[in-house]
């Protein structure tokens, strides 16, 4: 009696999502899928900056007012994780850097003026965010935090746990390319072969990475970008200069959790030319394609 793979597709967090669940019956797989989707949507609703009633929106609305916003245990851990990323990336992974979205516009290919950048850069200051016990306060009006840097990966890990609680031991959660594998293929326990998109040719695969268990995430300069005067401007921005990074076309990392894989691949992009070294020291498996087309891998 071997498990059969069942696929469940849905949309969440602005991306196409898929649950691949191996179970001995469709009914069992459907029950698990329901729990997995519910968990992804719960996180999306709770931390979405687009919903005026989300926790993040409430915190941001109070920026500069002097008022504290209380948060729960789950948010406490995410904030602690954000702080760990900040400390281990030389301050380049900063969850207050979302304000740059106000001056860059990818739909209209808008490059901000120096004055516009100088107006928002002082608002990027994770070290000035005040946190005590179970409350947070953004000291200046206009500051904002958002968990977009690892929100999808966190949702992938949480959904995977929800599936595990329903008895699923083989399969994976794929939220727009951020993947958490629960367990290898049923029967022969061979790894799942995850395709990595060619950063310059949308329908081509540049590599396949075998994953038995754990998280696989890819950061690239091709998801959201525009080109101007022969230069590519992508959505991953250096919080100190306010300008997009350009050293890497694509960085993929495999780590025990999707949230670790995702945040490390983003940090590598932010580190630019120092990223190769950073990835090597991290101890995780990686594949990076630099802007000259060269590959580095573990």
């Amino acid at each position: 009696m071997s498990d059969t793979p069942f696929r469940f597709n849905f949309s969440a967090m602005g991306s196409p999502c898929e649950l691949l669940i191996c179970a001995d019956s469709r009914a069992k797989a459907e029950l698990a899928a329901e729990a997995g989707v519910a968990e992804v949507k719960r996180i999306e609703h709770k931390y979405s900056r687009y919903r005026p009633d989300s926790l993040v929106s409430a915190i941001n609305a109070r920026a500069g007012s002097g008022e504290w916003s209380e948060f729960d245990n789950e948010t406490a851990w995410l904030l602690n994780f954000a702080d760990t990323l900040y400390s281990n990336s030389e301050g380049l992974f900063d969850i207050t850097s979302g304000v740059l979205r106000r001056v860059w516009n990818f739909d209209k290919a808008l490059i901000p003026s120096l004055a516009a950048l100088e107006a928002v850069l002082p608002l990027i200051a994770w070290s000035r965010v005040e946190i005590k016990n179970k409350a947070i306060r953004l000291p200046e009006a206009g500051m904002e935090i958002d968990f977009g840097g690892f929100g999808k990966e966190y949702a992938a890990d949480s959904a995977a746990v929800a599936l595990q609680k329903k008895g699923i031991a083989h399969g994976y959660v794929n939220l727009g390319g951020d993947i958490r594998v629960i367990g290898p293929q049923p029967g022969d326990s061979s790894p799942w072969k995850m395709a990595i998109q060619d950063p310059r040719q949308r329908d081509e695969i540049v590599a396949t990475i075998p994953v038995f268990q754990g998280g696989l995430a890819t950061s690239g300069d091709y998801e959201k970008y525009f080109e101007h005067d022969g230069r590519r401007y992508c959505h991953v921005m250096n919080p100190k200069t306010g300008v997009p990074v350009s050293y890497w076309q694509s960085v993929s990392i495999v780590a025990p959790l999707a949230i670790v894989a995702g945040s490390c691949s983003t940090i590598t992009m932010l580190m630019e030319e120092k990223g190769g070294d950073w990835m090597k020291k991290s101890g995780f498996s990686y594949l990076g394609i630099s802007n000259d087309g060269n590959r580095v891998s573990s």
Partner: protein, 357 residues
Amino acid sequence: MGLAGRAILAAALSMPILETARAETVPESAVISYKYLDYQESQLGEDRIGVKARAWSVLLPFAGDWSVQATYTKDAVSGASPRFWSKAAASMRDNREAKDISVTRYFSHDTLTIGASLSDENDYRSEGFSFAGTHSTEDKNTTFNYGFAVTNDDISSNGLQENKRKVDWALGITQILTSKDIVQLTVTDVQGKGYFTDPYKLFDLRPDSRHQNTAQVRWNHFIEGSDATLRLSYRYYTDSWSIKAHTLGVEYVQPLPGGWVLTPSLRVHDQSAAEFYVNPADFPWTATYSSLDQRLSAFGARTYGFKVSKTFDANWTVDVKYEKYLQRSGWRLFGQGSPDIDPFDAKMFQLGVSYRF
């Protein structure tokens, strides 16, 4: 593995991604609270009983799946106690000390609580033990509540030594109806045996058993536009002394910016008289049992209340509540009030402080 990789992985592994979600969740923080009560009754413009009480309460989560709750209350009662039917007579002064403690264990869809209580006055001692639990369905939209308690009271005053015991059962269901509505239905059954007579009242002799039943429904409704919550409750009460009562409560919780919350409230109560309640005007009475106790007469009552609370620094909360209670035999909604009873008023003022850590 380098320092950075190790630090990031460690931070991620400390996350509760592997934690089981709980239906009734372990409290996230410990809380300690203090509340002061000033209660003053009056009848026909004269002050009667006054109570000043202080209470402390502590709630502590521990060992991940457990919590313990303890409360200590000290009352100081003074003033003229009603003896002969609404007319004040002997003056009295008494202190009461009450303590209770309960421990709860949390599971993924269930909780179990055991508790003990002790109350001591110079002429009355009450000890109790209780057991309660909840069970939620898979989607946690429905929760079943059940409880059982036994209480033993020892009365010793004016040379008499008496005892009464009661056994309580409670069964309820809490149901989430919509993202903004939750309702709860509870039924209880109480069987009491022993000494129910009030030793301080003349012509008071009550049956040696009392069987009580209640059915209560509560509904909380969230109002999106103003972030307010409307809390409604209705309780129907009936007992073996032929008393039937209806109690309706309404609260409107309105949060305001700056951590303020305003809660106006209204409570309306209606009760019929105990079958052995007698009106002195009908003296002499021939029944086996009798009582002139105004509390067992037929009347209607209203409470108007207003509570204001403010949260500071996310951890401290201060609250103030004022209530005015009015009891009138002419205010019955479901029948006639007992005749010749003087109106009864009481004012209640509460001041509380709470700290979360």
